[in-house]
Symmetry: C2
Subunit: 341 residues, 2 copies
């Protein structure tokens, strides 16, 4: 069992783990908090919001299915409308994975670049990369601050690095939050009244975390149609935020995208036809065969807040120094297949 | 060429790229800055600071070599001393890659857990996860602030999100810096004098970025010997900082670690012997065959400062909104094979 303990509490996000050290006060690992979440804290993902991509089987003949959750309104709806049309037209059937660049992206689309697009696709303006702040739910979360530093805990050495407790810190924006299962960067502006100067959310946009799906484009003002897509397979390339549209994230089968051989051409493009994994079909969830039921942990739930806090302040037995913070991509929104009972 | 332009300036870190839009003012991409760095800004990596791991060839019979740069003093030297002994004893020959967990780590060592370790390995205390701040070079960098926001630029929309210019922001520590090619998190304390209250560096520690190599361990107070190692193959798991020793980073052959099939056991461990990629040999660079000469861009050089600034403020033609910041793992230290001429 020795090796299995190594990192045990650092990882398994979605599995309940046993408590190792019952003689000392223990804190639940993030995965334990998720496993203990109430049934009503989970939100069903509508099959019509899934994009189901079946790749050619692997060398051993094993099927490879990748399931993408498309983002809800108000984010990127122009591109997502195009993607729905492309899927309904079976446009991706017979296309392929064209590029795998290490620590960056896996990209798919039409290798010939000559396949005619279906009619009725819209051209989405660059302004749609950002969304003006509106939702009450987001402001509540943002004001409450989901993540609190472990100020009551003294790490075994090294001191608490957040005595004054920055709670939600982002190197690429002024803050971050979550809404309806989506990780969001938040820009702010100052509001001055007679009584106080406060900071209020201004613009919000989804973030390039691991497994997020975005829309390939050419130089500005092109914004891409949605026919060429990519997913992040390395450290979050957050510099792409507000520069490319994000349309969803991979919720199952990510390993089929991340473990592909890296392309040897410029930017990781494959150079030979036979290197490209063929795409057999891409369908919306309600038009695909044998699609599992998925649900995500509501980002507005108490369990999600506790989970985010635990991700930022690891105090489960493996850890000796909780960080006192986390970047947004270190708090992946939990997703699971709906339990069958 | 259409597809090749997509992301062109978002990626190729180490290649010179042509300027696309000569009619408008252009800014160099990070890779162009690196390509233009002066010969004297590059630092040779001593062969004795390399760990060269030869895996069994891939299914097509192609050799797979992974080259690790061991960290310089004062970081993790106890574990690195153990690793030198293990390599000199040829201890890893015949071991294997035992675990590949998606968006987390690839780990290698002895699958039987019964192979006797060489004599003379030291037990390193947990206090060695951190280093007290000393170096003048680091404080200079830290005080100057390597990264400046693009305040003189107005993005085409969305406004500049850093009008007051936070320069070096880290969600997991109070600041970050680089020294001798190593990415470092920095904690700080306040210094009060008659004239001012300033903030000074306190402790420093290396960070869990993509490709960094760390030492597997069991529950505290175990700190690991160095016989079981892992590398980061996904988004930086910075919560492991100050909780596990980091000893180096992969500078060539990373794709052989990141593109392996994910393990299907708990935490990504392989379940069957035949799934494990055998390790043929691990040698220190000066004891290995046919080792290339490597060099890294001095993190104290002007070109590195310009590169870091460009990573945080992408203004090359693909980008319409520079982020105004970057996390430390989005500024990978450039490494190259020493040019032959």
């Amino acid at each position: 069992m020795k090796r299995f303990l190594t990192y045990a509490t650092g990882t398994a996000l979605f599995a309940a783990l046993p408590s190792f050290a019952q003689e000392v006060k223990t804190y639940p690992a993030p995965g334990e908090i998720v496993a203990a979440a109430k049934v009503e804290e989970w939100r069903a993902i509508a099959p019509s919001d899934l994009l189901v991509m079946d790749l050619a089987p692997d060398a051993a003949g094993k099927p490879r299915r990748v399931v993408i959750q498309l983002m809800p309104a108000p984010f990127s709806q122009g591109w997502i409308g195009n993607i729905r049309k492309l899927a309904t037209a079976h446009w991706w059937d017979g296309t392929a994975i064209v590029r795998v660049q290490d620590n960056y992206v896996t990209q798919w689309g039409d290798p010939t670049e000559k396949k005619p697009l279906p009619e009725g696709l819209v051209v989405v303006p660059e302004s749609e990369y950002l969304t003006a702040f509106k939702s009450g739910s987001i402001v509540r979360r943002w004001e409450e601050g989901m993540i609190k530093p472990a100020v009551t805990e003294v790490p075994r050495f090294g001191g608490n690095i957040y005595p004054q407790g920055p709670r939600i810190l982002d190197a690429f924006a002024q803050s971050y939050s979550f809404t309806n299962g989506i990780p969001l960067a938040v820009s702010t502006h100052r509001v001055t009244t007679d009584k106080a100067i406060t900071v209020a959310p201004d613009k919000i946009w989804p973030t390039h975390c691991y497994g997020m799906v975005g829309v390939g484009r050419n130089l500005s003002p092109d914004t891409g149609t949605g026919a060429e897509l990519y997913t992040v397979i390395g450290h979050a390339p957050r510099h792409l935020d507000r520069n490319i549209a994000l349309v969803g994230r991979i919720i199952e089968g990510m390993e089929h995208m991340s473990s592909l051989p890296r392309g040897t051409g410029a930017l990781g493009f494959y150079e030979k036809d036979e290197e490209r994994v063929p795409i057999l079909s891409v369908r919306l969830g309600h038009e695909a065969q044998d699609v599992a039921a998925f649900e995500y942990l509501s980002t507005e739930s108490k369990s999600f807040a506790a989970y985010a806090d635990a991700r930022a302040n690891r105090r489960d037995p493996f850890f000796i120094s909780p960080a006192g913070g986390a970047d947004i991509c270190n708090i992946p929104v939990p997703v699971r297949r709906k339990p069958s009972k």
